[in-house]
């Protein structure tokens, strides 16, 4: 049994690399899109605020699996054919973006209005106020839910296997298909996912402590 697993390891490693690649893409893209749209939701003009609000509420109300199938099987109906890999990344990114928007809104909303006013009063422009006054303070509140969301992204990336993409999950299933050793391989898979996410939450806790000097 162990020899079989050892034999499968390079194959699993490839799947694991793909899992990390998908997760990284989703996390980075959703961070950029979510922060931009989140700023739009908090500070934008009414039409933009409404648009972001509708986007976020809609996306968060749909199961992620439905979203993924919709992007892969549904969008071709309007002429948008995405390869399975990018359809999966797009679906997961949309889902995560909606979450990042809410984290950002919560974090920025927790900063007292006086902070923006004081920053305005010394003549900082909107971007400068965000960069030097609002974001540094909001960061500490943004971080814990966001890191949580990153671990969710790593776990959620297992769904891409349902579009036939050979990530860690799919690799495990394929090895099981050859060896009929389900239990040890699922345990191995669980351990790998756990190791990644546990490392992330440790990093998160260290970061939080580093920024804990910012008191209310």
């Amino acid at each position: 049994m162990l020899t079989q697993i050892a034999y499968a390891l390079p194959f699993l490693a490839q799947g694991f690399a793909l899992t990390l690649w998908v997760s990284l893409l989703v996390v980075v893209l959703s961070l950029i899109a979510g922060v931009l749209l989140g700023v739009g939701l908090v500070y934008g003009p009414a039409p933009l605020r409404w648009a972001v609000r509708i986007f976020s509420d809609t996306i968060r109300g749909i199961p992620i699996l439905v979203l993924m199938f919709f992007v892969y099987y549904g969008l071709p109906a309007i002429g948008l054919h995405l390869p399975s890999f990018w359809a999966a990344v797009l679906a997961l990114t949309l889902f995560k973006t909606a979450q990042v928007i809410e984290y950002l809104r919560g974090a920025v909303g927790s900063i007292p209005k006086g902070q923006s006013e004081a920053a305005m009063a010394i003549g900082l422009t909107f971007r400068q106020r965000l960069a030097y006054v609002i974001f540094p303070q909001a960061f500490r509140r943004f971080l814990p839910p966001w890191i949580n969301g990153v671990t969710d992204a790593v776990k959620g990336s297992a769904l891409v296997s349902l579009l036939g993409i050979t990530d860690l999950m799919q690799a495990i299933n394929q090895v099981i298909g050859r060896t009929y050793e389900a239990m040890p391989l699922y345990i191995l898979g669980a351990l790998i996912y756990f190791a990644v996410n546990y490392a992330l939450s440790l990093a998160s806790r260290r970061l939080e402590r580093r920024f804990s000097f910012i008191r209310e």
Binding site: G114, Q115, E117, I122, G123, L124, T125, Q137, R215
Partner: protein, 264 residues
Amino acid sequence: MSTSSNDTPALLDVRNVSKSFGAAQVLRSVSLRVARGEVVTVIGPSGSGKTTLLRCVNFLESYDSGSIRIDGKEVGFRDSGTRQRRSERDLAAMRAETGMVFQSFNLFPHLTAAGNIMLGLRKVRGKSEAEARSIAEHWLGRVGLAHKADSLPAELSGGQQQRVGIARAVAMEPKILLLDEITSALDPELVGEVLAVVRSLAEDGMTMLMVTHEMAFARDASSRIVFMADGGVSAVGPPKEILAAETTNERLRTFLARFRASHF
């Protein structure tokens, strides 16, 4: 009315400014001039529009009609007179010319005392790190906090925080300093140290417009006092005239009587 404001060109010229929040009119055609080097205090019952007026002067609040000029330049709207809001960059540049000190201090909690002062100097005035630091240290010295340069706001007392707030505002060398009830959030024993700083700035010729409930301070430090009631200017004059118990202005007399009853 005092004559001093009409002889010299006004640094701050507020003309017929009106503003409503929904159905409530908070400013009713307010006009007010502050000459260079003058200290003008605004008093009045709560809800009379004092703070709103102050916030309009650096355009933290917009207003519906009228004009506010500092050194001849319209504050929030383009000079064309079309009531077109200035661009973000323009507004920021205009606001850098007015200093503001807040009731709730509003220090940046993630920056040290020196860092609070340096931020505007670095990012708005474009000064080097070293230059900004030395200016910050100079002003911290002026407000008696040279030894607290590297303390975070949370490590300072209320009075110390407010003195940093003042230093942060004046370090930008504003044309006019706006003080919005800056001692109202302080424990009584800390009020004196903050007022002493304001007094020394006044002696240096800093132009100031302040809202305060410290009548004794208003009497001693101001060139003129403006009494506001129901969103309008009800009386303007030198402290002696305004704070005299025998004033004929009914509203002012009621305000002062109430004020004396609650404070003494």
